[in-house]
């Protein structure tokens, strides 16, 4: 290769395509120290919430071999990740080390998944720390669904039905109004241990959940 050969040319094989998670991931992805139903520790700051739901197929039947992963900010709206923070941000306000914000759950015997977590804060829209627009997103939890029969994971978001900030959320605004409610988790009970939010994920058919392309 000559010294003037372009160095930007990469020899990568190209982005790896996805394949289904299949039916046999249990012992690997849901082994005791790999599943993450409980995201909170006793020291975690924030309002405790529980999220419960089912994954339903086109016949309305629960999908017993689905896997649900979530990713969320902490109660102050910070992700446990360096992106989008200036150096001074990082120095001044580290994300709470008692909260990572990642959850992974399989389905229980009743065909439902659950997470014990905290209500996230509103987060900036843009990753660019130089962005001065101040655009914010309503509190939400990113959700990814994997299952036998899903050749690629499905990406969606959980918003809180009782949060007035939803009206100004820039991502919800891209969703046809009639379908937005599929992204709204509803509070079904509340006691001393915190609110319980219901979020069913309907893969197909009536009430089909909005899934994102990004």
């Amino acid at each position: 290769m000559s010294a003037t050969a372009p160095t930007t040319e990469s020899a990568t094989p190209g982005i790896a395509p996805s394949q289904t998670v299949g039916p046999f991931f249990l012992n690997c992805l849901l082994r005791e120290d790999a599943r993450r139903n409980t995201l909170v520790q006793p020291e975690t700051a924030g309002e405790r919430i529980r999220i419960e739901g089912r994954v339903l197929d086109g016949d309305g039947e629960p999908v017993p071999d689905a896997l649900v992963e979530i990713w969320q900010a902490d109660a102050t709206g910070r992700y446990h990740h360096p992106a989008g923070m200036s150096a001074s941000d990082r120095a001044a306000a580290q994300p709470a080390p008692t909260f990572i914000g990642f959850g992974r759950a399989g389905m229980d015997d009743a065909g439902a998944y659950w997470f014990e977590t905290i209500r996230p804060g509103a987060v900036p829209f843009d990753a660019d720390p130089a962005d001065q627009s101040g655009r914010m997103q309503a509190p939400h939890i990113s959700v990814m669904v994997f299952a036998r029969g899903l050749l690629n994971s499905l990406a969606t978001r959980l918003y809180f039905a009782d949060d007035p900030a939803n009206d100004a959320d820039p991502v919800l605004a891209l969703v046809p109004a009639a379908r937005r409610e599929t992204l709204l988790a509803r509070c079904v009970s509340s006691d001393g241990r915190g609110a319980v939010y219901r979020f069913d994920i309907i893969l197909q058919g009536a009430g089909e959940t909005v899934f994102f392309n990004f």
Partner: protein
């Protein structure tokens, strides 16, 4: 055989499989039928959990002995290694790779796998490791066997290893499968063939004699390129060209 291929795809249509691919029967009731909603990459997608599991040990990457029985798994010993890269070819360090696979006879340790292939008491078929500073990962395992499934009459999955990668961002989250070259079952497998033809070779490891260790194990190399947090958002106008209808095309894969 006529296979209906759905038009709904997340990510690049020339790389990623559609959700509906009816030769793979399980997609029929589980694939969304309404268009995906195109969204930009916000801070929520450009961040991610990172490895999220801290207690990984070197033994976790050795599937030949990590059953904890003191015995060794039966089968052809293999080294599977490669680099996790971003789209520019830069290494992606500190990525959690979790793998699972059938044993040498094609049997999984799972209650849903009941075909009469023998179980190996010294093989669990699960492993994990982190990519290092150069993006390199490495597993020691045994070569998995092909196994039958009930998708269609006399259906057999080609030998493969499942890979899950927790990369640097939510957008880079990937679950996929690695295959071995020159397998006659590739052409018959609807899961493999659901990937657009030009991208299928990306799922196939290559034999690398420099990885092979004498008197020990055969070496296979498989590099994995993840979408990065700087990925160009899917263009809205590109998406609008995607019809909701499905297309029907002749395929030579699964009957």
């Amino acid at each position: 055989m006529i296979t209906t291929i759905g038009a709904i795809v997340r990510g690049d249509h020339e790389v990623f499989p559609p959700y509906l691919y009816d030769a793979y029967r399980s997609t029929i009731k589980r694939s969304p039928r309404l268009p995906l909603v195109d969204v930009p990459l916000t801070l929520s997608e450009r961040t991610g959990p990172g490895p999220a599991i801290s207690a990984i040990t070197p033994e976790d990457a050795d599937l030949t002995s990590n059953a904890g029985t003191g015995g060794e798994a039966i089968g052809q010993r293999i080294i599977v290694t490669g680099r996790v890269l971003d789209e520019r070819g830069e290494p992606v360090p500190h990525t959690l790779l979790e793998i699972w696979q059938a044993n040498a006879a094609g049997r999984y340790v799972h209650r849903a796998d009941q075909w009469p292939g023998p179980l190996d008491p010294n093989f669990l078929g699960i492993g994990r490791c982190l990519s290092d500073a150069s993006g390199t990962y490495r597993f020691l395992s045994i070569r998995p066997g092909a196994y039958p499934w009930k998708n269609h009459p006399n259906a057999w999955r080609p030998a493969h290893i499942h890979f899950s990668l927790l990369g640097p961002s939510w957008v880079s989250r990937l679950v996929t499968q690695m295959y071995f070259p020159d397998d006659p079952l590739h052409a018959l497998d609807p899961i493999f063939n659901a990937v657009p033809a030009a991208a299928r070779p990306r799922l196939i490891a290559r034999y690398d004699h420099s990885v092979t260790e004498p008197e020990w194990a055969l070496g296979w190399r498989w590099d994995i390129v993840l979408r990065g947090p700087d990925a160009t958002p899917f263009e809205a106008d590109q998406a609008s060209q995607v019809s909701q209808a499905t297309i029907t095309t002749a395929k030579e894969d699964a009957r």
